[in-house]
Amino acid sequence: MKYSLNWIKKYIDIELSEDELYKKLTMSGSEVEGYHMLLEDISDIVISKINKIEPHPQADKLQICTVTDGKETYSVVCGATNIQKGQIVPLAKVGASLPGNMKIKRSKIRGIESEGMLCSTKELGLGTDHEGIFILKSDLKKGKSFKDYFDDTIFEIEITPNRPDLLSHYGLSREIAAITGKRARPLEIVDSIVGNTESPIRVEIKDLEACPKYLLLYIKNIENPSSPQEIKNALIAMDTNPKSLLVDLSNYNLFETGHPTHFFDADKIQGNIIVRFAKKGEKTITLDGEERVLESTDLVIADEKKILAIAGVIGCANSEVNDSTKNIAIESAVFKPSLIRKTKNRLGIKSDAAYRYERGVDINAPETSLKRIMKHFREYTTFEANSNVIDVSAPAPAIRDIVLKEQTIKSILGVSLESSEITNILLRLGFKIEKLLESSMKVTVPTFRYHDIEREIDLVEEVGRIYSFERIPAARPYIRGPLVLNKYRDFKDDLKHVIAGRGFHETVTLTVSEDKLYQSYGYQEDMLQITNPLNISQNVFAPLIFPRLINVLIRNLKYRPEQLGFFEIGNVFSGEEKERISILMYGKRWGNNWITGSEEKIADLFDLKGELSAIFNYLDIKDKIEYKNVDLPYFVPGRSGEILLDGAQIGWLGQVEPDNIPSKRIKYPVISAEFDLKALYSDEIITYGHFSMFPEIERDLAVVFPDHPVNAEVISAISSAAGEMLRSIELKDVYKLKNKAFSLMYRLTFQSGKKTLKDKQVDYFMTQIIKRIEGDFDAKLR
């Protein structure tokens, strides 16, 4: 929120420099995001007096003014009609700068030389009026810089949601008083509002919980002139365009006290005011010209015929104050924050009033605001009569007392504070203190802090932030065990390094993504939809990872068209949330090079399977992993399979169907594997087994099958027939023969752990194996 330093200084004397103030505020919890001069774009504008006005000989609408800054006189051509001899005006001299990079040069206007320019508020960046020259008060000193009178420092401060009491200049002054040890001057208000006419409008509240306080002040026959410059300047510093006194004072009060008020044209109210919930589907047109359809949870201010305002959020066009307004009714009320927030969010309305109401306003602010506005009315305008304040309120909330123990301060802040220091801090913040026995005190909370000070701990925070966390000594904690280490996380981190070490780049892609992406690769299940997506490209929580890796691949083909490899570990949602890993391999394992010459190797399924084997071997689960030929929708038919761990499917491996990949640059197979990660983790400790010192015997087994057999099935048959001396089986060769027949050659290695095997024994094992293979597969020994 923006704050004008000039405005703050009305309530408190500040001896600090702007930089010191910025640091003090920031280090007490009101983070200053920056500060700047309001008129930083302006230079060489001086206060000057109009000595003479003559007509321009060549142009009817122009005049030649002779002005003086007290030392020299200048002849300036001017087109405005509101100037008179003797007035004090801002003069932009030759060389002056104005907002929007405007530079004043010596120039001829219709043949007459002009030595500068008289400025309007708009030209100075201080308003919207560009018809007339900005006429200044006559007591401003000639020759002084315009900035001396009108410049201001604007602070941008982040006010946290727990501090609605700081959303005003007076509120911030109170805070500055607390952190600098000064006192803020009280607001100038009338002592009391005594009516001399009867309000024709009465107030009825249907739900005192929703609206615990509603004050209404009726004013008869009020003049609505334009505001004095002081009010205008203050609003301009808040980026609010001044309109007329009545509108401006409502805004001014909001920025000054933080309390929203609403001015109704009293003559447009039919009957009494009723604060009630809207009927479902009830409609009204708000001040911004929009038609709003309301719900039964929206609190409204209505008369007997129509809705006058959406409570605490925005007024309606039907009761707006305008130039012809004579009689007004001023609302100064308190609404339940959560109601305002619900309505404002549903309707998508951002207003200064709603911003404050949803955070919570001071229950005592309505009276003060009316008295402050009354004071302004007496100063700046005239009116015939006013009513008494009509007050419909729930009983005042109980006085809030909290017991604060010094021991609590010590145990939370970790530092022992003197009782007098604690008291001093709280008194500065506006709390009242009563000493109790046993190093504790009764602390009474001021009403403007009711929204965030409810418990002892809240007071501890207040003491801590004003005392300063910087002054609390640091101590390293002793962390008590026993704690259970999370080895699964270490496992994942290690795995990333293992895979990266094998030549793959880890990616991080957005899990919130578009359902069409997954469908385009063949995912057919329902996906977990986001009900309020930011845009259509992020409408689901991903059910798979690999389509995003393909996107990364496509993106990177422009850099490396020949060879890429990626992997990602992330959560997917497919029936449940689980962690998966996906690995993608593309292009050449190696291209032509100085060793193999022009002989290249394009990565295929078995290259990636080799990488997976290395990973599974690292994880010590290689023997538990099996693969099964299964056609899956994502892959080229006949070129994919499932990965099984202990017989249960954990993922798959395949060559991605090229027709699904939306890029013409893809010229090699895209090989992809994706599987559950948690299943792979095991904290089993490896137990060492003795190894055999006896020689191995190798035998080759070449078999002709009538059709291509499944390798895993052949190996399984060989293993079960061979007996326990079989150490390993490797597929050495595959030949295609005539009529779909295939010859497969396996190398079998036998070894005993107890003795040297004899050829005769191995011959026996081989006979058993051959018998089994021939029987199971209708195969013949080659």
């Binding site: 007490s28 919890g29 949601p161 727990n162 924050p337 959560s338 927030r341 955070r359 145990s411 939370i412 802040l413 970790g414 530092v415 418990r455 701990i457 925070e461 801590g464 932030r465 966390f469 910087e470 609390i472 640091a474 101590a475 390293r476 904690p477 962390i479 704690l483 999370n486 981190d493 990333k496 990266a500 070490g501 094998r502 030549g503 793959f504 780049h505 880890e506 990616t507 991080v508 892609t509 957005l510 899990t511 919130v512 977990l528 939809q529 986001i530 009900t531 309020n532 930011l534 993106r555 990177n556 850099y559 490396r560 490899g565 990626f566 959560n571 949330e577 090079n593 100085w594 193999t596």
Partner: protein, 334 residues
């Protein structure tokens, strides 16, 4: 003695000339074998004057060592040259080589987690698709409170939401375990933010908390200062009051700008400070919602954005780079 000198001259000359392994073998036999010429000289010793014997014997021995070493060396050289392996140019390209990398966000996580592990914290992970209770209610965010505005959530069809921070893990752990607890929790979070140089709808956070008896702001500061020192080196830090619904008191931690050393630059917006985390003492309401006694236990919690730290660490100026996965970007990391 002249006999020895003569034999030495002859033997060394032959050794010099020898160019094949066969010749070496011949020389070994001729001079060093049991019936060789040196052995012959040894048999001369008894014939000598006893006074000369010692010196003579010493002379033969020296020659024997000299010849043995010379022959072995020559033999080894000849053997190597016989293998005929041509020399290679070791500066040629390796084969095959594929460079991979761990994502800079992972690397940053690992580095940060290691520091906390060293202090005694353990790692616990939680779900990304989370219940309102864990993400908001249990963390003392009242329903319909403006504090929720800063964490605009994605709501899911199944009634859950995507967690907007890693703090839900605090509630999950406290609900299921008795203190002492010292936990860090890394993971992805989601907010309805349009992607730009410093925002993303998905981002990474690390949450940490310590709950035990007698934990205060002093321990919070000690832990965070140690962490910052390990990660950034000796840098000034400051603990600035702030507001979070789940901590009371709350603060933000700034570290002296790593780019300008605190003088003020564009990265630190001329303040000389970089905000790197939020922290505070766990609010008693959070303990109560998780079923812990706030009188018996106290604790602190902190949370930091991993992208932010990685950006500072690697001098990265645009958050989008992390999620675009350009190979030219990824390749710059190990």
């Amino acid at each position: 003695m002249t006999q020895i000198a003569k034999l030495k001259t002859e033997a060394l000359e032959l050794l010099e000339k020898a160019s094949t392994l066969e010749e070496i073998e011949e020389l070994k036999i001729r001079f060093l074998s049991r019936k060789g010429e040196l052995a012959g000289l040894f048999s001369e010793i008894p014939k000598l004057d006893p006074a000369e014997r010692k010196q003579f014997g010493q002379g033969i021995n020296d020659l024997k060592i000299l010849l043995t070493e010379g022959l072995e060396e020559k033999e080894a050289t000849l053997k190597r040259s016989k293998r005929d392996l041509p020399p290679v140019d070791i500066t040629r390209d390796p084969f095959p080589f594929r460079k991979g990398s761990v994502h800079p966000l992972s690397a940053t996580y690992i580095e940060i987690i290691n520091i906390f592990k060293y202090l005694g914290f353990i790692v616990v992970e939680g779900p990304e698709i989370e219940e309102d209770f864990y993400n908001f209610e249990g963390l003392n965010f009242p329903p319909d409170h403006p504090a929720r505005d800063e964490q605009d959530s994605f709501f899911m069809q199944n009634g859950k939401l995507l967690r907007t921070h890693t703090s839900p893990v605090q509630v999950r752990v406290m609900e299921s375990q008795e203190p002492p607890l010292a936990v860090v929790s890394p993971g992805k979070c989601y907010r309805r933010d349009t992607i730009d140089a410093s925002h993303s709808s998905m981002f990474n956070q690390l949450e940490g908390f310590l709950v035990d008896e007698n934990i205060s702001v002093a321990e919070l500061k000690g832990t965070i200062k140690y962490f910052i020192k390990e990660l950034f080196g000796e840098k000034k830090t400051r603990f600035r009051p702030h507001f979070f619904p789940f901590t009371e008191p709350s603060m933000e931690v700034d570290v002296e700008c790593v780019f300008c050393g605190g003088k003020g630059c564009n990265v630190c917006k001329k303040t000389g400070w970089l905000e790197i985390m939020g922290a505070g003492m766990i609010d008693p309401n959070v303990f109560i919602k998780a079923g812990l006694d706030p009188v018996k236990y106290s604790g602190f919690a902190f949370g930091m954005g991993i992208e932010r730290i990685a950006m500072l660490r690697y001098d990265i100026n645009d958050m989008r780079l992390f999620f675009e996965n350009d190979i030219e970007f990824l390749d710059q990391f190990r």
